[in-house]
């Protein structure tokens, strides 16, 4: 079985990532990125707090300290009133224009080679307090691009507070479907800017495994938040069976040999007017790409650092900075040893992300971000790269308007909308300023520069 074919079949979650996988070549990524956009008004109805209490800019998912603590607390805080229904819905529609039409091979099925309008996501959430100590964040999405639904996100938590050494401590357990889904900061894969991207966007290059598993795994995580400052989490992950994957329409990352191990520590300081966090995270898994040929596995070991800063003040002028760096060590025992579809037994990937935002009056937002992914040369693995590397870098600029989401907003907290424009510019794509597209023709990185207009609403 061709691993390329296997990977392409397995990558069902996201059209943009699917295209990356194609241009990246054999098994370069196991990109099963789950839905990026999340906004959950049922939490606001449960707590009585406006969206802006939990989210920077009055709209998800960038969390304030209040939102961070709400998540760590297991989504269970409330205004004390019963009868709240933990259900929300969300819709994301967009129009995408790329600098140059994509090739026929890169065209998304059902759509044109450029200038595409789509109802990208229609999601239903089970999100909120289920019991005094159990809460949920579960998202199911119909993709108007993929033309199918999937169970995107599952994070069901038990949390309780106790005193440890005289300090307030929250401890919890999470049953979840994605290693970085559980994280309370906006620096790791699942919750990092950009919070919505077009499925017609070319993507940001190969990603480390820790943020590429989408809903294809199930994890059991234990975490603790000590003295409102030290966060620690340990998770064990197993891949779903083929039957399980088919039931929820999730992509297949292959089968883990043993369990995947996720670890996370962070120091968080909330000074009310502003706050910061610094942390470390890591993931280790042995992946058997072909379920019909088990035994030999590719090993992926990810180690990252991250940091964030928020100036909130009186909430009129809010500044944030989020940064992360991840290094991935790959030992391709199967891909190199069994299939010879890599030049090297050992490869590495380095990913850097930085985003800064400003929001005025919880309404008007501007965000600038850079992305930079680099890897060593592997001509076979990165077949679409003219240099043999997967190096991809560029920037994202976004301006958005969120008219509601404040305490006194119209129909608060039911009516929520964000309208924005996002521009993605590429300096390098798959190795340099040019690469080979799916039809084998040379294409410039900047041809992928993308402008997206989006409408994101939730109730």
């Amino acid at each position: 079985m061709s691993v390329l074919a296997a990977v392409q079949r397995r990558i069902q979650g996201h059209a943009g990532w699917r295209r990356i996988a194609r241009v990246a070549g054999v098994g370069a990524v196991l990109c099963l990125a789950a839905s990026l956009a999340q906004a959950v008004p049922s939490y606001a109805r449960q707590t009585g707090a406006e969206c802006a209490s939990c989210h920077v800019g009055g709209f998800g998912p960038q969390l304030t300290p209040y939102g961070i603590k709400f998540k760590i607390g297991g989504y269970t805080d409330s205004d004390g009133k019963d009868g709240k229904i933990p259900v929300s819905a969300m819709l994301v529609a967009n129009f995408t224009r790329t600098a140059k039409n994509v090739s026929e091979g890169d065209k998304v099925e059902h759509f044109d080679t450029n200038n595409n309008a789509a109802m990208q996501e229609a999601s239903l959430f089970l999100a909120g307090r289920l019991t005094d100590n159990v809460g949920a964040f579960v998202q199911s999405t119909y993709s108007g691009v993929e033309r199918k639904w999937a169970l995107d996100q599952v994070d069901v938590r038990y949390a309780r507070n106790l005193q440890l050494g005289g300090k307030e401590t929250t401890i919890g357990l999470s049953l979840n479907s994605n290693p970085t889904l559980t994280d309370p900061f906006n620096t790791l894969g699942q919750w990092r800017f950009p919070y919505t991207t077009s499925d017609f966007n070319a993507g940001f290059g190969p990603s480390p495994l820790v943020e590429s598993l989408g809903g294809s795994v199930v994890g059991a995580n234990a975490y603790a938040f000590f003295d409102n400052s030290i966060y620690a989490e340990l998770g064990l992950y197993e891949t779903l069976s083929k039957t399980g994957l088919n039931m929820i329409n999730a992509g297949d990352a292959g089968k883990f040999k043993g369990v995947g191990t996720y670890g996370r520590v962070a120091y968080f300081k909330d000074m009310k007017r502003d706050n910061f966090s610094v942390g470390l995270f890591g993931f280790n898994a042995d992946v058997q790409p072909d379920r019909s040929d088990l035994g030999t596995a590719d090993n992926y070991r990810d180690l990252g650092v991250d940091a964030s800063y928020q100036y909130l003040g009186n909430r009129r002028h809010i500044f944030t900075v989020n940064a992360s760096y991840v290094k991935e060590w790959q030992k391709l025992n199967y891909t190199f040893g069994n299939l010879a579809e890599s030049d090297n037994l050992k490869n590495s990937l380095n990913q850097f992300r930085l985003a800064g935002s400003y929001h005025y009056n919880q309404t008007w937002g501007a965000t600038a971000a850079v992305f930079d992914t680099r890897g060593n040369t592997d001509v076979t693995r990165y077949a679409s790269s003219l240099s043999g590397t997967p190096n991809t870098s560029g920037y994202v600029l976004q301006a958005d308007w969120t008219p509601w989401g404040k305490e006194n907003s119209w129909m608060s907290p039911w009516a929520n909308v964000r309208v924005g424009v996002q521009y993605t510019g590429y300096n390098r794509f798959m190795g340099g300023s040019s690469y080979l597209d799916a039809d084998g023709n040379e294409r410039r990185a900047r041809d992928n520069n993308t402008t997206m207009l989006f409408l994101w609403t939730s109730i």
Partner: protein, 126 residues
């Protein structure tokens, strides 16, 4: 007699001085302090409760008495506190010292000036 007058004057000065410390708070600055320190959990919009009770008309109110707020701790309901500037100041300085067993997850506001400002702001809301 003269001594009585002196004592009275000292007491009056002390009382006025205390009152003036609240009066010196700036409600405008206090609105910002409220937004930074309190607004995530408390509202001053009429009838609106969040994780914590509404703080509109707090001055002179009995603790634990907002009728449609059901999140009070037993400790708060049984505290017999009637909120006035002095009690508010003591509470927001060290909440757990004033109401041991209370639910409010707040470590306290050590800046006396900021406390005066936010109290001045709250006492203007009726």
């Amino acid at each position: 007699m003269k001594m009585h007058h002196i004592c009275f004057a000292i007491c009056l000065t002390a009382l006025l001085g205390n009152s003036q410390s609240w009066a010196s708070g700036d409600p405008k600055k206090g609105a910002d302090v409220f937004a930074e320190e309190c607004g995530d959990c408390h509202s001053v919009a009429p009838g609106k409760n969040k994780k914590g009770p509404n703080l509109l008309g707090l001055n002179g109110r009995k603790a634990g008495s907002v009728v449609d707020f059901s999140g009070y701790s037993d400790a708060m309901k049984q505290s017999a506190i009637v909120w006035n500037p002095e009690r508010i100041d003591a509470y927001i300085t060290q909440p757990r010292k004033v109401v041991a067993g209370g639910k409010m997850k707040y470590d306290g506001l050590p800046d006396a000036g900021a406390r005066a400002d936010v109290i001045a702001y709250l006492t203007t809301l009726k």
